[in-house]
Every structure is written in structure tokens, then in C-alpha cells.
Symmetry: D3
Subunit: 141 residues, 6 copies
């Protein structure tokens, strides 16, 4: 039986964001989000991990170049050099925390990876900085 192997591709993007719940007042938003209530930005790093059986004739789970292309099409083309609060259709109504980004990116990528069955999306990591990271492993099986 083919070994199950995980592959991870990492990309970076630069974006502005602001943490703000529009249903709360400024004082409450400032209490909740502190300095992140002010518009600022990050060099984000995203790591996408796909699991699948290792095809011995190619030495691949899926082509890492294809994974890179999917990430560019579904994520980077929408978020790189953008304001995450106002410029990204698939983030409308979403408070752009790293946690919410990880889930939103999963929802963009999962159908594209499922189409490559038996591969499946295994994990998405969103690093906002060296200090803070969010990670999503998908809905319960």
C-alpha cells in the first residue's frame, strides 16, 4: 500500500487589516482588539498542507507546482497587496483575524483539493508575524 505523505507549500503576502466588529462601539472594539483596532498590516505567511498516497512512479502526492498555482489563484491573487477589510470579496463580513483567515482560506481551497481525490486538504497555517499564528485542520470528519 502506498505510504500516506504530507506536503506543504508556503507563500507570503503583504496586506493591511483592522480588527473591528461593526456591531460594537469604538470603546468596546478598542477594549477587545487593543492596537489591532487601528488599521495596520503584516507580511503574512501561509502554509498549506495536503495529505495523500505517495505515487511511486512520480514520487509525488500531488504536484507541488499545482499546489502553488491553486494557492495563487484562490488566495494570493485576492489578498496580496490588498486591504483585507475592504478589497476581498470572499472576506466580506468577516473580521480579518488570522483565525478567520485560516478558515476562509480552507473554504476556498478545500473544493479544489477534493477534486484531486484521493488527496485531501490537511492543514492551513496563517502566520501574522513571528509571534502569532492560527491553524485550521478542517471540520470534523
Amino acid at each position: 500500500m502506498a505510504p500516506i505523505v504530507l506536503i506543504t507549500h508556503r507563500e507570503e503576502f503583504a496586506a493591511a487589516h483592522q480588527l473591528c466588529n461593526p456591531e460594537l462601539g469604538d470603546a468596546e472594539n478598542r477594549r477587545l482588539y487593543g492596537p489591532c483596532f487601528t488599521l495596520h498590516g503584516h507580511n503574512y505567511e501561509i502554509e498549506v498542507t495536503v495529505a495523500g498516497p505517495l505515487a511511486r512512479d512520480t514520487g509525488m502526492v500531488m504536484n507541488l507546482a499545482d499546489l502553488a498555482r491553486l494557492m495563487k489563484e484562490e488566495i494570493l491573487a485576492q489578498v496580496d497587496h490588498k486591504n483585507l477589510n475592504t478589497d476581498v470579496t470572499f472576506l466580506e463580513g468577516v473580521i480579518p483575524t488570522a483565525e478567520n483567515l485560516a478558515v476562509a482560506f480552507w473554504e476556498r481551497l478545500a473544493p479544489r483539493i477534493e477534486a484531486l481525490e484521493p488527496c485531501r486538504l490537511h492543514r492551513i497555517r496563517v502566520h501574522e508575524s513571528r509571534a502569532n499564528m492560527a491553524e485550521y485542520l478542517g471540520p470534523p470528519a
Copy 2:
């Protein structure tokens, strides 16, 4: 149902340590710990990961600023710029390997995180250097 997301906060501290089992003689300690039997030091990195349901109204599992504060209160305030063999009350009688630090830090943090139920402490990583790391996922459920 809310997605379960992992968040990780990373901090650094500088400390001295020496690996030595006081019940063994010098020759046996040197055989066991090699150069680490001599007092030396590291820039440690600790990564603490908390798992919990993602609250859509805040976009958070728990506030990363609160996690940073807990890590500073429970760990960094005790170990940063200290000698781990002699200066840290909660490490008394503990040989300060990265493995033992990971478990000791878990025991400090777990009750503080449990108080934030339904969040739970998921993982603690202690990097002693680029080369060596210990990781603890807690006692069996």
C-alpha cells in the same frame, strides 16, 4: 457548529542552565550529558498552542493578547534572564532539559487555560536552539 481552530503565540527568553543529576557522580553526569554538564545558556523559544471553537463575533478562539500575558506571568517572569538550575521556584528538583521544561510549562499554563473553557491547552514547544526542540501535548485525555 463553530470551527475548532488552533492559535499559537511564541515568546523568547534567555537563560543559563546545566544538565546534572545530583544523584550521580561527575563522571556519570559527563558521560550522560556531555558538554551540557557544564553551565551554559540559550535563547529559548516557546510556542504555546491553544485549541477552541472560533467565536465568529470576535474572530477569536481566545484573545492572543491574553495568551501572551499568561505566558509572561506564568513563565517568562520566572525564567527570563535567570539560571534555570537555581533561580526558578517551579523548577526546583527538575533537571532543566527542554523536555522537562515543556512539561513544567504545561503544568503552569494548563490550569490558567482550563479556566477559559471551552478553550484547552493543546501543545507546548520549547526550542533550545535551531537544532533541538521538545514538544508536549499533555497527559492522555
Copy 3:
């Protein structure tokens, strides 16, 4: 004679910015700045280097803790978690490229370091990302 030694302190900040010359039209700004014409953001790293004679009784050129404090007062307190185009008094009318930031930060810090004569400000580096960096060594002596 005391050896002349350079010391460098590094800090990070997260900010939003947009490259735009208000005297040019949108088309010209887009041609000039490409994707940077859209508001986005970075985790900036700044490295400040001070040169001076090494005092053998302290082992210091100047206290690195003082240099860190000056950088926080003069730079980080103004730019961290801010929009560099709109929120920073000392950047009013300045297009916030890394190059302009390096010069503007020099102008903030140089008088504070000159007051610590015989120390002098030697170099400021502003990293916008892993890929791009600007560096300023001050006006000709």
C-alpha cells in the same frame, strides 16, 4: 585608545502603507508603484547601528537598553500598528517608501544619539520584507 565598536538593535513593527504621489494621477501612480499603489501592509524590521569608543569599565559603547528605549520613543510609539500615510505626524507629506522611512527615522534619532557624544548614529536599515530593504548612513560628514 579605546576600540571603536558598532552596536545594533533591531525592532519590529506592523503598519499599513500605500505608495502614492498626490501630485500624479491614478494611472501614473499605478505605473510607478504597481501593486504598492494599493493600501497594504508589512511587518517592518528596523536595525539601528551606533558607533562609538568601547568603554572598558562598562564593556559598552552605549547601553543597548537605552538604544532600545530611544527607538521605542522616537519611532515605534509613532508607527507601530498605524497607517503610515495618515497617522504619523513626522511622516506628513512623505511617501512612505522604505527609503524615505530610513531617512525620516534617521532624522528622529540622530539628535538623540548626538546628545550621547562621542557616540554617533552610524546606519539605519528598514526591511519591508525578506526581499526588500533600504539603508541610510546619514548626510556626508
Copy 4:
């Protein structure tokens, strides 16, 4: 009961490789592997993780110095400063993708770690670059 802790040791090696399935023609290999069909090279990083009960008298799962030595004997001595396509006996007939390397390294190390029962090999990560990584957790239990 002793806590189960994971320890990880990281090593680096420099090697040349070329992705090519000898049963396919050049055009098909180029379509499949793109620029990787041309001989090139990497600074690889490998992270080997071992799980086991933490011995409180040593503060260790297994001696990290022993893990480093095993990695050097079983892996680095064969692959560092080598051409992975032609110089490594245990990679004969293996297309040297990061995925295949992770599995091949597992097969080299697993028997050596199993001999240290109750320790067991938990995970092998092979980083080909900052962008691409493969990870193997072994055959199903």
C-alpha cells in the same frame, strides 16, 4: 505514569538532484517536473521527531546527542555533498523528491529507533527550501 514527550533534532545537508522518471521520455518528464527535470540542488533541512516516555531521572526521552549521531550515520553520511540521483545506495531506483526522501529516511531510521524501545520514530520532515516541505509519519499502526 511518565509523560509522553516528543523531541526533534534538525540537521542540514547540501545535495544535487534531478527529478526524472527513466520510464518516461524527456517531453513527459519536462511536463511533469518542469524546471526540476534539470539537475540542480538544495540546502535540505531534515527534522526527525522521536516520541517516548520522559525519564524523570535523566530528563530525557532519548539522548538528543544519540539522535544526532544516528541521523549522521544513517542519513547525512550518505547524502551530504552528494548527487542524490547517482551517489546514494539506499536511493537507487528512487526519484529523489522530498516526499520519497522522507519515506526513505524513515526506513533507514525506524529500525535504529525501534531498538531503543519504548521510544518510537514519530515524524520526519524534509524541507527542500523555505517554500516546499514533505512530512512522513510512518505506516499505519
Copy 5:
């Protein structure tokens, strides 16, 4: 007078190389180059630094996007995913040490940068690994 500012752009490439002087025998090459006499490879990082007056209306010394493009045209297009000993016209007859690469890359880029006078090429750094780097500042003025 406009401040003189340095800008640096960094790129990475993956290549194979082998250190070998064809005028020497194998024994002498092995004595001189050690393990580097065997074909192996690296993830190289190159940093190119350009100096020039800062144009206040653009906030630029030269457009970093143009510098990135020049580096891709003159260097990366020739060396990325290649064997530096056999595949690169401008390295024919050159032993591909990091030192020789730094000088050869300078010779490729200097005329392109000089055409952008008053900018001038200031420094080229070639990192072969975290451990080893060569740096060239050009011929004496």
C-alpha cells in the same frame, strides 16, 4: 542635496555545483575542495545593493521592481534550477565558488545599473548556506 540611500533586493535560486580546477588532478582537487569536489547543490540567496540619491517626488533611489527584474533577467534566468558547472554561458571556465559567483554577477549587473546613472551598483552578496557567504563591492574606483 538629496540623501544618498542604499536599497537591497534579495532573490533565491536552487543550483548544483562542483568545485574542481580542471588543471589539477583528482587528489589535488580533493585536498583543496574537500567534500565540495563532489557534485552537490544549494539554495543560494543573492542580495544586490544599489546606491543613489533619493528622489523625493518618488521616494525611490531606483524602482525596486526594476531591480528585481534586472536580477531575474541577468542572473536568475541563467542559474536557477541549473548546474553551474555546465549550463551557464557566462560561467564557462569559472570555478563556481560563491566568491567567483559574486564577481561574475557583478559583471552582469554593473552595466545595467550604470545605465541608470546616477545610481551605481554598490554590493553583491552570495549566500551559499547559513554558514558561508561571499561579498563583492566592485573594482577600486
Copy 6:
């Protein structure tokens, strides 16, 4: 004429240190050195840069393997896994700040490099952490 090229080799070591001037009282030492007055430690990184004419027949300024060996003999063998305040003969009576280490390492290495004339020692960098670094370029020519 041969181009003048700079080569840099980087090494790491782990050591304990404490900043303390024995001629001052505890209160004054604490005021001066803050938390660094308490024994702690670091993963230090040292970068040694040598300048010299590039020999076209070898492609080298000096053999990087020889530079690595000199650094190990003159520096790492004395300071790695040591207490810099008490265990290092050539640091006796020296307050082990990064600044003093840079000068002390220069004095150890300069005669060894001068013996390789026309090479000369160009720069020594001592990184105490990601945040703090000292750099020495030698006595005035």
C-alpha cells in the same frame, strides 16, 4: 589585478554570562546592566569576515574550511557550552558584553589571519540574540 572579495563564515555557540563590574556594588551593577546582571545565557552567532584578492585558479580568497577551523580552534573550543565569566582564559577580567567579545575574538583571530597575508581580517559580528549585535572592524589602519 585580482578583485578584492570578502568572505564570511558563521558559527553558533551556547554560553552563559552575567554582566557585572566587580569594582561596582550590586545596586550600581543592577542600575547599569538591568536583568543582564543576573546570570543567564544565549545562543550566540559569530560572523567572521576576511578580505583578500580572489585567486582565479582556486576561486577562493582563503579556504572557507580553513576559516571555519581557525574559528573553532581560537574561539568555539574555548567558549561553546561554557560560562563566559569564569571558564575562558582569554576573557579573564573582561566583562562579557557582546562588544567586548567582538574585540576579544578579533585579538584571537587577527594574528592567525595575518599569517595568511595578503588576506586580512575585515569584520567580526557577535549576535547575542535577534535583537542585539556588536560589530568590530579592528584598530584604525
